[in-house]
Symmetry: C2
Subunit: 301 residues, 2 copies
């Protein structure tokens, strides 16, 4: 799994920092999460081809998470895109995008599908051969979801010793890799589990932004390999988290610890702090394996 | 008059070029024309304080001219703006902005006034002590206006010889500067024109983007000091201007010549051309005084 941070700063875009957007990659398939203003330029700077983006997941309708979406959709159109684009986000996102396309008389020539979210409990919203994506209901000023990406293993790993012991011909191997049981010549059915190794635990990436400290996410993101959690503030500014419904670095780390995740990535930093290392320092008082997102940074796991 | 080009390239924002936006300055008052995606960052890069923008003129509702507006409005709010903001643009602009503010639950604490334009003939839409702004109806794929800025001279220049000859006391000078007639002690009324010099010709800046070749603009922009005219294409690509309703550099120069303007600035270049000097070369075959806009460039007249 590869993660490219296009932007990870809160509120307004500035000369050298960008609002939230990131690209998640599983086995060569890319998924865009959030789309702040300037995302299309950040995709170019990070050399990510527009044609590789086919699904966009929008956490909530605050500007720093979606004002770049209409521009990206329009640019896809101007550049001749033909393939479908699927957008997952809060109810209302379709109306905003279609109104702008209507008033600029520039409907896209490619198909644009909106999947509007309204559920307040976690649900499976997308699945392909690489991943399943579940919502993570968050607690913010407007309706907000995080997203849990769960890797799928398209093929099972064969237990060759067992297959040879049972004299199973290799022409059947692909079917067994795909999870099928096998029937021997004498009619005995061998369960797939006997012919393959137990699947390794699927890689899980949880994205939680924006949210205040919210323990109800813990069971949803339990044991994730990587958790990206917003840390807009430090504990010294904790009163600001009440009205704004954001988290401190320590709170992000507390969620990471409670959920028993392997690694925590912090982001969505308030621009009031000039040095982001302070977020890592604070989080490490609670949780060991803390990484700091930054614009243009990539992580590979 | 000072002009700062924040962006002057057509269609999609790219790593090193920006869609249309520019700041016009008359006697320390600034006016923003168009607001493509990324304009707020370009304002920062060009060190233009957000608080100096109080009027925004949007030519039309194509994304490369207004997708940055909602972000700018939101950032003004996040940064604590208190002063009013006036937006002039095509009908529909209010609905787009208010829908986005509503769905993000982030109405501005400052007052936001929309002045929606629908007229297809030139009209005075704004006036303060520095300028009058008139629309210039253009011919594009959607309803589009250019803008003509006409400098106002708040004070008349006094004819001191004449004032002394008539023994007019200096306590009356301010009123005369403001254009009032003067009454002598014997009751004789002296017309203001006799006590002041004829005003110098007001500086006129005409902004025409986007538009195809359209001669009806000529009487409106007649004798302007500076004309900014789009030149998306070169003559070699003239067929593309028909469907897209854009102009070539030569057509821009032809309008400049017919309108007897003093200087022509070209912009809104299609990114298919790698070197913008070709636009200047083509325009100079028709009109002498051609300047090339470029992102971050300033012009002072």
């Amino acid at each position: 799994m590869k993660l490219t941070i296009l932007g990870c700063y809160a509120a307004t875009p500035r000369t050298f920092t960008n609002p939230t957007s990131q690209v998640v990659e599983f086995n060569n398939s890319m998924y865009l999460i959030d789309c702040g203003e300037g995302t299309q330029v950040q995709l170019r700077i990070n050399k990510i081809r527009f044609s590789r983006i086919n699904q966009i997941f929008i956490s909530h309708l605050h500007g720093d998470h979606f004002y770049g979406l209409i521009g990206l959709i329009s640019s896809f159109g101007l550049l001749g895109r033909q393939s479908d684009l699927h957008i997952y986000g809060p109810k209302g996102i379709k109306e905003i995008i279609l109104l702008q396309l209507k008033l600029s008389n520039s409907y896209t020539q490619y198909k644009l599908y909106f999947h509007e979210l309204t559920s307040t409990s976690s649900e499976l919203i997308f699945e392909d051969d690489k991943v399943q994506v579940y919502t993570i209901p968050l607690n913010h000023r407007v309706y907000t979801n995080g997203f849990l990406f769960v890797e799928k293993q398209p093929f099972k790993k064969l237990n060759i010793n067992k297959l040879e012991e049972l004299n199973i011909h290799f022409v059947y191997y692909n079917k067994i890799k795909n999870g099928e049981n096998h029937t021997l010549e004498d009619g005995t059915i061998i369960a797939n589990e006997e012919l393959t190794f137990p699947p390794k635990k699927p890689f899980k990436y949880a994205y939680c932004s924006d949210t205040m400290y919210e323990e109800s996410v813990v069971p949803i993101i339990k044991d994730a390999d990587v958790l990206y959690h917003e840390s807009t503030f430090l504990e010294q500014d904790k009163p600001k988290t009440i009205h704004t419904k954001h988290s401190t670095a320590k709170e992000a780390a507390t969620i990471a610890k409670m959920a028993n995740v392997k690694k925590l990535i912090l982001g969505h930093y308030s621009t009031r702090y000039t040095d982001i290392t302070v977020f890592g320092d604070e989080a490490k008082t609670v949780f060991d394996d803390v990484l700091l997102a930054d614009d243009g940074k990539t992580f590979e796991f």
